[in-house]
Structure formats: C-alpha cells, structure tokens
C-alpha cells in the first residue's frame, strides 16, 4: 500500500476505474495535457488518449450539459469544473436537467455522471476560487453531494460515485489536497454513499463536520483533551442524502452537538442538521446546539481569509459553550 495525498488518491481512482470501465470518460478545462490545474488528472490523457480524457473549450455549462448528453447515451462522464466559483453557470443544467431527468421521464432516461469540483478556501487562492456552495447543491433534488475528508476516503467515495446510478457532485476540499498523506489501498474499494464515518468515538459531545473541517475538528479535539472533554466526531462524507441515523444515534448518546462548516451560516447545512436533531432527538438534548461556520459575506481575499475560516479555536469555544450547560 502506498502513502498518498488526496490528489494522488483521486488520480489513482480515476486511472483504475478508466482501466476497468471503458464507458468512463474525463472532460474539463486543462484536464488533458496539463493534467488539471491541481494535477488530479495527471497522466490520464497519455494513458487513455484524447478521446477519453478531453480538454474542452472554456465553457462550464457546456461541459456539464454535454456530460449529461453523454450519460444519457450510456457513457460514464466525469466532468471537472476547475474551481468552485465556476460551478455557478452549471446550476441551470444541474437543477433544471441533470437532477430531474430520471424523475421527469419516469426512469426512461437517466444520467449517471460525476462532476468533480475542487472546493473551499484556505489556499490563498484568487477571488472566486474559494467558495463553499454545498448547501445550494444539497437543496437540489435528484443529485447526490459527496465531500471526502482524507485521501483513502476520497478514493473509495469517488469510485462509489462513478458507479452510482445517479448524478453525483464530488466536492474536493482543495485545502487538504496535499496536506494529508495516508495509506491508500490499491484496487477497487468503494465507500457507500449516504453513510457517515465515525471519526472518533466519544461520550460528551458530538461534533459534525465534513471535508477540510474534519481536520480542524480533530485538532480541536487534541486541544480539548486537557479539559477532559471526550468528543465524538462524525464526518458526514455524503451531505446529500445525509446519514441522519448516524447523527441521531450519536446525539442520543452525547446529548450535545456542534456543527462545523466552512460555508456561510444562514441556511447552511448546520441549520438543516439542527432542525433534524430537533425533529428526531430533541428530548435527548442537554444543551442548545452550536454552529461554527463561515459568515454571510463574500469569501474574503487572501489577506482576510483567516478571519472567515472556522479554526480549532472557534471549535473549542463552541464545544466549551455546549459543555457549560
């Protein structure tokens, strides 16, 4: 087993799946000769040719719209949108067509495809390169939304996404693209969509996070060890459909919760998670639930990015607050 970072793990997943399944094609801006601006598709064009690893014109809606057409015909396209901020022109295609075609045609036409998007802040990128649009996507019927938090998770989740019968938007936290290195199994293994991961068991408080925030929460847990606070950490992995059972089971045990996400606070998934806990486990709660999130502002440029991003300090403060009841 090799120790890989997330970029390498995703590259491996793509390579193995393209070997295994001739229907899989990769398309996007700079994914071919360049191997992607983050090198996620590095070497794929050389290996599989320009017909299966396609450098497209600069046209985001065009990339996902044609990917849908390909999927209708039985290919398994994996479209790359170069950065989160450039996903917005695709929302028309995603919302009006990709997420609906199975339902509209009563299952006669389907479009299993994956849209991969490097997402989130924390790498001092230019404007429009650090967005967290997951709540918009989770609010859209008919698509699944997956966000990995480690290299080996990324590989298993991506393979499951490619093989899924429905469209999946795969948001890759670019901040941890190269920050974590771990053993990644070779060969095909899948991690089921819609199932959360129990990152760490604990008795006192449940902290729910996904993507790059899992690492922030783990760092916060380290800091809280001295306070004898035993934190349970849940990595949602799939934010749509969400693993509600995993959240509720944990809340019934701990009675306290903090939700951490990088996306803006208002109408963020934190609100949804709290509403779900309210519906299903209200009587288990010992304290109001806290949210540690980004703010309702446009993502700041790099000099002020650190103000925006949730960090272990803010997570620690939130955990202490819920523990104070």
């Amino acid at each position: 087993m090799a120790r890989l970072n997330m970029v390498e793990a995703i590259n491996l997943a793509l390579r193995e799946e393209m070997e295994r399944d001739k229907r899989v094609v990769v398309l996007g801006e700079d994914v071919g000769r360049e191997g992607g601006v983050f090198r996620v598709t590095d070497g794929l064009q050389a290996r599989f040719g320009g017909e299966r690893v396609v450098d497209t014109p600069l046209a985001e809606a065009g990339i996902v719209g044609t990917a849908m057409g390909m999927a209708l015909y039985g290919l398994r396209p994996i479209a790359e949108i170069q950065f989160d901020g450039f996903l917005y022109p695709c929302l028309d295609q995603i919302t009006n067509h990709i997420g609906r075609i199975r339902n509209r045609s009563r299952g006669r036409f389907t479009c299993p495809l994956v849209i991969r998007v490097p997402y989130g802040g924390g790498i001092h990128a230019p404007e429009h390169h650090s967005e967290s649009p997951e709540a918009i996507l989770a609010h859209t019927p008919g698509i699944k939304v997956v966000i990995p938090s480690t290299p080996s998770e990324a590989k298993g989740l991506l393979l499951a996404s490619i093989r899924d019968l429905d469209p999946v938007i795969f948001l890759e936290p670019k901040r941890i693209y190269r920050a974590i290195r771990e053993e990644v199994q070779e060969g095909a293994y899948t991690i089921p969509l819609g199932k959360a991961r129990l990152v760490q068991e604990g008795r006192d408080v449940t902290v729910i996070a996904w993507g790059a925030m899992v690492r922030e929460v783990l760092n916060a847990a380290e800091e809280l060890k001295g306070d004898k606070i035993d934190m349970e950490i849940i990595d949602l992995r799939t934010i749509s459909p969400m693993d509600v059972d995993a959240i509720i089971t944990s809340i019934r045990k701990t009675g306290r919760a903090v939700v951490v996400h990088e996306a803006p606070k208002t109408c963020g998934l934190g609100a949804e998670i709290i509403a779900l806990i309210n519906e299903k486990a209200f009587l288990s709660l010992q304290a109001p639930i806290e949210r540690v999130t980004g703010f309702d502002i446009p993502m700041p440029l790099l000099k002020s990015e650190h103000y925006y991003l949730p960090n272990p300090k803010r997570v620690v403060a939130a955990v202490k607050k819920v523990m104070s009841f």
Partner: protein, 356 residues
C-alpha cells in the same frame, strides 16, 4: 458543389424547392415520391387537428398550458422524416409534430400537457427526450449524446429543435462551439417562427440571418424556407447523411411563422396585428402542399374530408384514453427521483400518505 456550399449562409440565399403556389422551383423534381408526400400531408392534417384539439382542451380546462405547433408543421415533419428510428431527438416544447413523427404516441403528448409525468416517458426504443422548457438549454445534451455515439463508434445522429429566441442564450453558443470543435453528429434545427413570446426576431439578434451564426463556429449552416416540405427535408437529409458519415454538425434555420399564441397563456393581439400576419397566411405549409398534391391529382375536397374525418376520429379516441388515465399515485412523485429512494424521501412519502 454541395447544398451547404451553394447556400452558404454568407451568400444570403434561402433554400427553397416548392413555391407557395404549389409548383416546383426547378426541373429537378421533388425529393419525395407522391406516395411519401401524400403520407406526410396526411400526418400534417392529423397533427394540425391534434394541435387544435389541445388548444380546445386547454380552453375547456381539460389540459394545462399548451404550446401549439400551428404553422410550423413542415419544419418538424420534414426534418424528422430525414431521421432514422435509432436517432435521438431533443425537443424544446413546441414539438408535437416531431414527436409524433418519431413514434411518440399522441396519448403520451397529451398526458404531458395534462400534467402527468407519464407523458415524458418515451416508449422503449424511441429516443425522444422530454420537452425542454428552459429555453436553449438542451442543444448541449444533443451535442453530448452525439459525442458519446461518436466515441462509441455508433452511427447515430442527434437533432435539437429550438426557436429563434434560444439563439440568444449562452448555452446555445456553448453547444454550437462544442459541436464545431468536436465535430459531433448533431443537428441544430432552429425554427425561426419570428417571435419569442412577444419579442420579434429582429430584437433577438442583429445577425442578418440565424443560419449565418454557424460560420463563426466552423459548422455548416443553411437557411431554408421552413414552410416548404421539400426544402426542409432535403436540407435535413443532407445534414443527417453528412453527420452519419463523420462530417460533423449543421445549423439549419427554418424560416416559418407561428400562427398561434406562444402558449395558451399568451394573448398575441398585444404584440402583433392581423395585418402583420396577412402576408404569412398564404404561406401556410399545409396550403402549399395541398396545391402541389392537387396538381398531381392526389388531393381533392373529398380526400381532405376523408383525411380530416379519420384523424378526428382517432384524436377523439386518444383524448378519451388520455382522460381515462388515473391521477398518479403518491409513490410516483417520490420513487423516480433516484434509482433507489433515499431514507429522506421514504420518510417524506410516508408523512404525506398519512396526511392525505
């Protein structure tokens, strides 16, 4: 010289074969034999009556909003006739004629406009996509499907139907551009019916013609008389054959006129006068074909009466069948969202059932 060179969009010539008086422009003759022509005329009689029936059903509250095809029958019948059974059609929302031509049952079309999703389920083997209401968004799908077929080495062709308004959209540009770059076997059929709801063609684009937009994308383009069955069929057949043999995409602009409202929710008297419509009336695609067939000894008042009666009878029967289809079950609105229903959807469905 081929058709697309002879009628290169920058030459400013519209391709025509059948004059409004029903005679042919050239000695070359018609591209379709008498039997085929009469058969297509019969289809168009059926389509026009089925279209009028839908308008009437809407007015009587028996159908939801409907977008009539009235006046554009030839654009769709002539182009769809050039396709083969395995080809893929990506309609906008005014494509009753093209859908029926490809084998979609009228009952299915009626069910859709009556508000039942079953009306978007094409029978197996008939590759007609559900209507696409967000204007101009679906040519991208036609390009993607054509591209996939090309990658797989299948000799199929796709066609997207849209109106003049759609050519103002960004997705139209992206679709044309991608089709040009990747030489996809996809046909863009623009039915220039002169209006996008109320906004006239000249406000959509400063281009002299829509066909000439193809030039910038490196795609063949041609402007045809959209009310001329022979011209529409010939141009589309040429584009289809070219696409099937690896020659790439074509933009066809069929110049036509929307005789009806945009949809039943629209009042065209707000934006066009009877005088404006007057010059188009003699150009009615059915009138022209009737004159042609009469000259060939294939049409008479008796023939018309027979075709009308037969069509009317069939349409009435279809209306009866469509109206007899029960309201969908509660499960139906949940169970097709994903391949497998998510726990969330199951819970929401159970809740709804319990509250009905």
């Amino acid at each position: 010289m081929g058709l697309f060179e002879d009628y290169h969009p920058l030459k400013g010539k519209m391709f025509q074969m059948l004059k409004p008086d029903g005679t042919l422009y050239s000695e070359m003759g018609a591209p379709l034999n008498d039997q085929e022509t009469l058969q297509l005329y019969q289809k168009m009689v059926f389509i026009r009556l089925a279209d009028q029936k839908a308008l009437m059903l809407q007015r009587q509250g028996r159908m939801g909003t409907y977008a009539p095809v009235w006046g554009q029958e030839v654009c769709q019948v002539g182009s769809a006739y050039a396709l083969q059974r395995g080809d893929w059609v990506f309609p906008a929302f005014r494509e009753l004629a093209a859908s029926l031509m490809m084998g979609i049952p009228l009952k299915t079309v009626y069910l859709y406009w009556m508000g039942n999703e079953e009306g978007s389920r094409a029978p197996e083997g008939i590759n007609v996509m559900p209507v696409s209401i967000p204007v101009g968004t679906h040519p991208l799908h036609a390009v993607g499907t054509a591209w996939a077929a090309k990658i797989r080495g299948d000799k199929i062709v796709t066609i997207a139907y849209f109106g003049d308004g759609a050519t103002s959209k960004g997705d139209f540009h992206e679709a044309m551009n991608l089709a040009g770059v990747f030489k996809t076997p996809s046909i863009f059929f623009c039915q220039n019916n002169q209006f996008a709801i109320s906004v006239p063609r000249k406000i959509q684009t400063a281009s002299e013609t829509i066909a000439q937009k193809s030039v910038a994308y490196g795609v063949d383009g041609i402007q045809v008389d959209g009310n001329d069955l022979f011209a529409v069929y010939t141009a589309t057949k040429e584009a289809v054959d070219k696409a099937r043999s690896g020659g790439g995409s074509t933009l066809i602009e069929g110049v036509t006129y929307r005789f009806g409202p945009h949809t039943t929710a629209d009042d065209p008297t707000k934006y066009r006068t009877d005088e404006e419509m007057e010059p188009w009336k003699p150009l009615d695609p059915l009138v022209r074909l009737r004159l042609y067939l009469k000259e060939r000894g294939l049409w008479s008042d008796d023939v018309e009466k027979r075709l009308t009666e037969e069509a009317q009878k069939e349409i009435d029967q279809v209306v009866k069948e469509a109206e007899a289809v029960p309201v969908p079950e509660v499960e139906d609105i949940f169970k097709y969202v994903f391949a497998e229903m998510t726990p969330q959807l199951k819970e929401q469905m159970e809740y709804l059932k319990a509250t009905l």
